[in-house]
Amino acid sequence: MRVENVDVYYGDFRAVTEVNLEFGLHEITALIGPSGCGKSTLLRSLNRMNDLIDGARVDGEILFHGENIYSKGVDPIEVRRRIGMVFQKPNPFPKSIYDNIAYGPRVTGMKVESMDDLVEESLTRAALWDEVKDKLKQSAIGLSGGQQQRLCIARAISVRPDVILMDEPCASLDPIATMRIEDLMQELREQYTIVIVTHNMQQAARVADRTAFFTAQVSEGTGARTGVLVEYGTTTQIFEDPNDQRTEDYISGRFG
């Protein structure tokens, strides 16, 4: 998956400017940077979730298997099925656990031999099966925060995407739940390409193969703020040997 010269606008406001990135297959890429620098904005533009926001617009190309997902004739719904997403706050549907998982395959009209098997497989991969296998018919709202987030991951993989985008998936979780999700990411990485936004630098350092550091740049003339990609490289390089002064300041906690 490749991001080429991407600008994202909300109406007249340019939230992200000139981003070029390439996400490695079966790797975890972390996007880090201070608040408001456009990490979520960029992430949402990777599976056209931004289409749903009035006035949001993407310039440049986002190539998925070589095909620009913004080119004419591309079905945003198919894009979203192929590029799954997990949100900051767990957002299970107020339905049963089973129906939460079965929802995606049903709405996308996926041909499945046995929905039960698919549900089990998805939950197993999301390391949740053992905890919920006896209460599949119960409402997902009753689960704990960490379980809900794993359910959301299970739900995302139920439609067999290639890529999973995660926007601060652990921000609302306690440390133990966070650890479980991090472990899960490591497992999922075998099969999926993962892009994760995080505020927690330790987390980025722990899980990501590559890290992209963004910051908000204030234009001298107009005072307009926009997000820019400062540096992109392997996580080790970014954390241990950053090329850019701003990266170093941020990593060492001197700013932000």
Binding site: E22, L25, G66, D75, R210
Partner: protein, 303 residues
Amino acid sequence: MRTLQDSLAGAPTMPLKTGKAHGERRAGPLIFLIVLWLSLAVAVIFLLTLIVNLLLEGGSRFGMPLFTEYPSSSPDRAGARPAILGSIWVIATTALLTIPLGVAAALHLEEFADKKHWFNRIIELNVQNLAAVPSIVYGLLALAFLALIGVRDKNIVIGGALALSLLILPVIIIATREAIRAVPSEIRDGSLALGATKWQTTWRQVLPASVPGIATGSILALSRALGEAAPLLLLGALVFVSFDPNGLLSGFTTLPIQIFNWTGRPQEGFHELAAAASILLLGLLLLMNGLAIFIRNRYQKRW
């Protein structure tokens, strides 16, 4: 760690451009959208038909005489002057009775009442219930009340205003509460932290900030009262009034009642007059609704 080049190799290609029509453009979603559109369209077409119908029927009678003339046995001479004035009297009286009372009640419930106290919970439940009581029941109430205090001629401005006030009081209370609730608690905290009393805070901060919301709600409620006929019917307001109402104890008729009365006449001319008066009434309501929306959009603060 693999290199980027490695990891990009061997990417499977499955086209995103499916042969099929796209997600939102498939038959199902399209039909669904059309059905939704139709729901709105039916309502709007209905509204238009009703208005066009009225215009066709009453347009020719819509002129000065409608405003200046008294009712008459001849449609050519008849007008709605007393009904217009009667509506104004009744609605103005209703406004004076209800708005202070409704706002005060809402202030109590929102700012002062201990929400867990049984008394306030009863009031709360009550207000919600009253909002759903059929208007004609308020007519029965006003009728019984006037009979109780021994008023003989029930067809008086204050009687009509009483029935309509009871009718819209819950509406005004609910609207005011919503307006008050929209005032952020930071404003209250800020005032209280300076040593202002609760009432000072309410009077100087909360109330001014919620005036647009209260105004909007009140106007809408009054416009509902303006169009009501049923409760007034019970007070015997279906009368021929050949004079200008001039006080709270004056006899009166209102536009909706006049319309109802005219349609009950044998002469076709009266039916046209009824349509013309309906146009007038509808115009008034449009005006009030428009004003309410204007206030809502213009003055309502986005905190």
